[in-house]
Amino acid sequence: MLNARALAAAALTPLAANAQNQINMPTGVSDAGVVITELGAEIYGLHMLIFWISVAIGVGVFGIMLYSIYAHRKSRGVKPSQFHEHTGVEIAWTVIPFFILVAMAVPATSTLLEVYDNDDAELSILVTGYQWKWKYEYLDADGENISFFSNLATSQEQIYNTDVKGENYLLEVDQPLVIPVDTKVRFLITASDVIHSWWVPEIAVKRDAIPGFINEAWTRVLAEGVYRGQCTELCGSYHGFMPVEVHVVSQDEFDDWTASKRGAAVADATLATQELSVDDLMARGADIYNASCLACHGAKGEGGLGNAIAGSAIAMGGVDSHLNVIVNGVAGTAMQAFGAQLSDVDVAAVTTYQRNAFGNNTGDVVQASDVVSYKEG
């Protein structure tokens, strides 16, 4: 449990300059003064309303108490009064708070009604929580859904204090969610394993992702920019390491982005028909490994939550049985089926990487065509 080396490194590594300490909820308004989401601004207003009402009551109650502590102390020689009932006062402080509560409930109700107004969305995105990453799938009327996984991009070296932490430490992903500005976007939120919760504070959307069921939320972001959030429902060991990163861009940029995503999918498919060099496979495989495998199997394949890969019978045994584990997962364990999560090229690359990194040195090269033929039996 004790990690002496990491501790020593922590003492030696200077922290990156801290971002400004924020002490309140995001206002829903950008630094440039543009409203980010109307709902976010409204929720902030509601939050501040209740806060100031509480402060006012608190000042009254604590003021009276402090005065009493000052004035009604035995050391000042006061004689204690013996009153212990007053019906009028008691009724007043039961009834008046009730009306204050009604005054709070009215704006709260109207805001809640807006939160629940999910209809008329121009874009629907399926958000699926996995241990420990998010998958985004843009629903398309013609069946050409764009779908990808979004993994933590912060390096293990930063987490274990052997490298300087970047500005967006733990809040950065390899592939962000991209949405167009000023467009009503509907999020359909679900999970594949345990309950997660998808949250982006600045756009004021938080919904639980529940395996088997879908939840709905929506947003209309009015200010372009990058908004970051995190999973907020305890979902296992790496709960703190599955951030959300949303890029809000103009409609033109969004169209370009969707075109390039579709293009990349085609490119992957093309790549799947080609032979890649060992170096290309290893480089690609290392990236995939770090994003998808490392959390459980360790930076050096030494294992952790998952089995060790370095020197393992699976990684050094038959290629087909190795592919079987990666593509289909292992039922009843945390090992997921990556066949649907990774493209054929990526499966080939990561398999090649695992078979040759960490001193496994089998010399085996697995090409995408091998994966295709494995999948087809």
């Binding site: 300490n21 924020q22 995001p26 039961t94 409930a105 629940y116 069921f213």
Partner: protein, 525 residues
């Protein structure tokens, strides 16, 4: 033996076989303090890891085991048994009864606790580690994805549930049947009232918790699908059942604290409690409301709008009776003749900090705003203001208040005051900044965090170490008082204290009120 005035047996067998409410109360108090230190040690590990961004001391999986065990041990091992201990010591003495109604069951309720917690703690050494799914153990993380030790966790919950139910039945039976002649319900000290209502809550909801863990057990081992969508179940059902238990549980923890504060503030204000009757009604109202607000813990699960609105309105209503209590306490102080010994300091600390926790509770009840607060450090700050500054501060006040009565020896007042100020300051340094990081977007239960949360987390950790260390001072003060404290012989140790326990010698004999006392016309509160 036939001798009604025999003293305690000697040696270990005194404690193993005892049916004496004072002995059992003492054991509960020591056990809960041991658990408080254990749960506190886990909290220190959590705060040490969170001292700086990056992973330094422990791995993320172990961190989750720490947060889980910290929560479980503090709630079920420290706070709840400590108040049961207090009830054991005080209720018979307050209502003029010779002992609890069911002394042998009392012995059992205590003695099944240590094995349960030993089993829970031993999961740390098991293959796969201790439960790491949070003290709220949401399915399916706690079922399909749980470590094998979950079975022992379930068994431990069952045992401590049985213990709580037996303890509660005992308290209800004692209060209902063993009051001295003339001690009518509306003459009972408020501590007895709050415990009576708490005991009813416990009898009603501990079986619900037992049901929830039994369903988990069946899902894990017997192929049922209560909480798995695959077999027609629903993970959200777990949350409904858990919080149907869990919300009354919150009041189970805080109501006896209200009782303690309602005894101490009048004593040091030298003035009767203001609004005794409204205090009783407010307690009953809070207990009733606790059954219809559970889903405010689940605003983000995607409830229908009507459900969301119902639970929001019902939750906001709790502010009314809670407000009544706070106003009553402040009015009790008003135009009294106050002195500020350690128990009073802790009670005033309770009053201020619990009220702040109440305000954040009100903020959390507002469903649309809760979408931003939910599962962040804002919630962590909120419930530590009511659990630590609420329940633990009041418990500490109670120990200082009644310890001289129990032992016949006085604690060191200066050290007590130092303990209070260090606790009070340490507590606020720990938890006040957590409001800020929560609002700024830091989720709870994470072992590492983004850089903008670094300064406040470091502050929070420093505060936690200060608060933790101050508890060792408390332990020392209590032990020093018991072994070598100045002897007190007055029956009424605090000149403003009212109630039957203050008519007994200090320390009280092993058996008290074997002949029921006569109740004066003046109400005992």
């Amino acid at each position: 033996m036939g001798d009604h005035h025999h003293g305690p047996a000697k040696g270990l067998s005194r404690w193993l076989y005892t049916t004496n409410h004072k002995d059992i109360g003492t054991m509960y108090l020591w056990f809960s303090f041991a658990m408080f230190l254990l749960g506190g040690a886990f909290a220190m590990i959590i705060r040490a890891e969170l001292f700086q961004p990056g992973m330094q001391l422990v791995e993320p999986g172990f961190f989750n085991q720490m947060t889980t065990l910290h929560g479980l041990i503090m709630v079920f091992g420290a706070i709840m048994p400590s108040f049961v201990g207090l009830a054991n010591w005080l209720i018979p003495m307050m209502i003029g009864a010779p002992d609890m109604a069911l002394p042998r069951m009392n012995n059992w309720s205590f003695w099944i606790l240590p094995p349960a917690f030993l089993m829970l703690a031993s999961t740390l050494l098991m293959e796969g580690g201790a439960p790491a799914f949070g003290w709220t153990f949401y399915a399916p993380l706690s079922t399909t994805y749980a470590p094998p030790s979950v079975t022992f966790f379930i068994f431990a919950i069952h045992i401590l549930g049985v213990s709580s139910i037996m303890g509660s039945i005992n308290i209800i039976a004692t209060v209902m049947n063993m009051r001295a002649p003339g001690m009518s319900y509306m003459k009972m000290p408020l501590f007895v009232w709050t415990w009576l209502i708490t005991a009813f809550l416990l009898v009603a909801v501990m079986p619900v918790l037992a049901g929830a863990v039994t369903m988990m057990l069946m899902d894990i081992h017997f192929g049922t699908s209560f909480f798995s969508a695959a077999g027609g179940g629903d993970p959200v059902l777990f949350q409904h059942i858990f919080w149907f238990f869990g919300h009354p549980e919150v009041y189970i923890i805080i109501l006896p604290a209200f009782g303690v504060i309602s005894q101490i503030i009048p004593a040091f204000s030298r003035k009767p409690l203001f609004g005794y009757a409204s205090m009783v009604y407010a307690t009953a109202a809070i207990a009733f409301l606790s059954f219809i607000v559970w889903a405010h813990h689940m605003y983000t699960v995607g409830m229908p709008l009507a459900g969301e609105l119902f639970f929001m309105y019902a939750t906001m209503l709790i502010a009314v009776p809670t407000g009544v209590k706070v106003f009553n306490w402040v009015t009790t102080m008003w135009r009294g003749a106050m002195t500020f010994e350690t128990p009073m300091l802790f009670s005033i600390g309770f009053l201020v900090l619990f009220t702040i926790g109440g305000f954040t509770g009100l903020m959390l009840s507002i469903a649309p705003a809760d979408f931003q607060y939910h599962d962040t450090y804002f919630v962590v700050a909120h419930f530590h203001y009511v659990m630590v500054a609420g329940a633990v501060f009041s418990m500490t006040a109670a120990i200082y208040f009644w310890l001289p009565k129990w032992t016949g020896r006085m604690y060191n007042e200066t050290m007590g005051k130092v303990h209070f100020w260090v606790s009070f300051i340490g507590f606020n340094i720990t938890f006040f900044p957590q409001h800020f990081v929560g609002l700024a977007g830091m989720p709870r239960r994470i072992p590492d965090y983004a850089l903008q949360f670094a300064d406040f987390n470091m502050m929070s950790s420093i505060g936690a170490f200060i608060y933790g260390a101050s508890q060792l001072l408390f332990l020392y003060n209590v032990i020093a008082a018991i072994t070598s404290g100045k002897r007190v012989t007055d029956e009424k140790i605090w000149d403003g204290a009212e109630g039957l326990e203050w008519t007994l010698p200090s320390p009280p004999p092993y058996h008290t009120f074997e002949v029921p006392p006569t109740i004066e016309e003046q109400p005992a509160h």
